[in-house]
């Protein structure tokens, strides 16, 4: 994926200013920056929630900045949210089943008439969802209401839902916010395991230990602009980065 000169304004406030970078497959890329740097805004722009005022985003060569979120998801990009956005009145299993929406196709007719093709697909959906839940250790809680899960479990469920759509590129917005040290470590291991399974992951995070620990590459934003990118160790020592975090 590649972004070129993304600029996005909210009224008079310039949230993103000419941000450009590329992401190569099969790695974990971390995006860091002080609060207000525009990290989540960037994420929203890429996933179609906001439309950038100028610039272009390419995914596998296809320009996507004008597409709607559901179309972008169908192409293979998915995300989790800073504050968990589950379907709280559906069960854990159903949340993951919804995640599979872009990869399945039964429509109104099949649903209403309960046609054989629809039944077969439903069975498949259920099986796949159960497999995913199993991967995350949530299978025993499959019939729980999603809102009854602990925060850590909810974050894993949201991750499971995102993975259900079989994305090639996954954005995680502060996946360990609100988690304790043990849960953070487990999430880190989980993310690394996903990368080893072939997933490309972009991580927006404040937790430096985590980001520097598992990322292959780090991009730094400050005040809406990219101020550096490189290997984690290099970014930790980069003077501009340090200044952005400590200065002003």
């Amino acid at each position: 994926m590649e972004t070129r000169e993304i600029t996005l304004r909210f009224g008079g406030l310039e949230a993103l200013n000419g941000v450009s970078f590329s992401i190569a497959p099969h790695q974990i890329v971390g995006i860091i920056g002080p609060n207000g740097a525009g990290k989540t805004t960037l994420l929203n722009a890429i996933t179609g929630v906001y439309a950038p005022d100028s610039g272009e985003i390419f995914f596998r060569g296809i320009p996507i900045s004008a597409l709607k979120p559901f179309q972008i998801t169908a192409l293979g990009i998915n995300r989790t949210f800073q504050q968990v956005q589950l379907f709280s009145n559906m069960t854990v299993l159903e949340n993951v089943m919804v995640g599979m929406h872009p990869r399945t196709k039964s429509g109104f007719l099949g649903g209403v008439l309960h046609l054989p093709g629809e039944r077969k697909e439903e069975r498949k959906i259920r099986q796949k969802a159960e497999t995913l839940l199993d991967f995350f250790g949530l299978l025993p809680k499959a019939n729980w209401m999603a809102s009854y899960l602990s925060v850590g479990d909810q974050k894993r469920l949201e991750l499971g839902r995102a993975l259900a759509s079989e994305p090639s590129l996954l954005f995680l917005d502060e996946p360990v916010a609100g988690l304790n040290i043990r849960e953070t470590e487990e999430m880190g291991k989980l993310i690394t395991r996903l990368k080893e399974n072939g997933q490309t992951i972009v991580l927006v995070e404040h937790n430096m230990h985590l980001v520097m620990g598992i990322s292959d590459w780090v991009i730094v934003l400050s005040n809406g602009s990219k101020i550096g990118e490189g290997r984690p160790e290099a970014m930790q020592k980069d003077s501009r980065v340090v200044e952005a975090y400590l200065g002003a």
Partner: protein, 328 residues
């Protein structure tokens, strides 16, 4: 759709179909017949409210469109009734599509307003276009429905037809809710942004649900016309739109069984209150307020909640999501 629903359906159908054997009074049968039609409208409206999170205050217009289109074409122009019924559904669907496309794109209560405006306009047209519609005194002489030589010309015969349709619509809607599309709709109503990012085309779904709800209302309207054989604008006023929304809310948004419950209850209620006819309006307003203030999730789910304890880890089988609860 799960064992619990299938068993409930069986019991429901059994009870309904044996009622005429017990209840000989034709007037009572007529009330139940109207209830059956109201269930169809209310289920459609519930799909819209409980799953697309939109409110329509103009469903009387779609009900009326079905009724008047069927009435006019079969009586004045001698079209075949069943074909006209389907044609009316198509026309109503197209009209709903035309209204839905621009208004459902917007955030906010715009669909409410558009449907409200549409209801009033159609109502006024029904009254003013009197050469075609018969005006305020109504339109009479609508032919009965028939299948080959068999005519549905008594309250009893129509009872079986209408309730078969009504139960059929319930079955098909239950199927829909428990399918991939139904899940997408439930997701859409809970958390639209998350639904979009999960790959659901929320705009298209909202329009489709709105069209379906309008088409169901049209179906009910056409059947109504061929049943009573006389229709007048008063039946299709803004007040009817409010009544069906009340039925959805009393039954619980998102709960189809609740819709059946709400429709039957609130169709029967005015008959019970017949003695205090003047208080009809007042009591409706009171019920609407009380239910909404104290039972925003619906009377039916409230009552059901007392019987069925919801365990954290034990809801095997199907369960209908209460789609209204978005958190305060």
């Amino acid at each position: 759709m799960g064992k619990k629903n299938k068993i409930s359906l069986l019991i429901y159908a059994l009870i309904i179909f044996t009622i005429p054997a017990i209840l000989q009074n034709n007037y009572h049968l007529m009330v139940l017949n109207v209830a059956a039609l109201n269930i169809v409208v209310v289920i459609g409206l519930n799909l819209l409210m409980g799953y697309a999170g939109q409110i329509s205050l103009g469903h009387a217009a779609f009900y009326g469109l079905g009724a008047y289109l069927s009435a006019i074409f079969t009586t004045t122009y001698s079209f075949p009734p069943w074909t006209t019924l389907v044609m009316a559904m198509v026309i109503t669907g197209l009209v709903a599509y035309a209204i839905g496309i621009p208004t459902l794109k917007l955030e906010g209560h715009y669909l409410v307003m558009a449907t409200l405006g549409f209801n009033v306009i159609i109502y006024i047209v029904m009254i003013q276009l009197d050469e075609v519609t018969g005006g305020p005194s109504g339109f009479a002489g609508i032919p009965r429905l028939r299948i080959a030589a068999f005519a549905f010309d008594s309250d009893l015969k129509i009872f079986y037809l209408l309730w078969t349709v009504s139960i059929g619509v319930l079955i098909l809607s239950l199927n829909l809710i428990h399918s991939r599309v139904g899940r997408a709709m439930a997701a859409l109503s809970h958390n639209e942004i998350a639904a979009r990012c999960s790959g659901i085309d929320t705009e298209t779904y909202k329009v489709k649900i709105f069209v379906i709800s309008a088409v169901l209302a049209s179906l009910a309207g056409s059947l109504y016309a061929h049943y009573i054989t006389f229709i007048s604008p008063g039946t299709f006023s803004f007040f009817y739109s409010i009544q069906v929304v009340t039925m959805v809310l009393v039954g619980g948004m998102g709960s189809l069984w609740g819709s059946a419950f709400g429709a039957i209850l609130l169709t029967l209620l005015p008959e019970v209150l017949h003695a205090v006819k003047e208080y009809n309006v007042l009591i409706y307003g009171l019920i609407l307020m009380i239910v909404l203030i104290f039972f925003p999730q619906g009377l039916f789910p409230g009552i059901m909640g007392i019987f069925a304890k919801r365990k954290i880890d034990g809801q095997s089988g199907s369960r209908e999501p209460l789609a209204w609860e978005k958190g305060t």
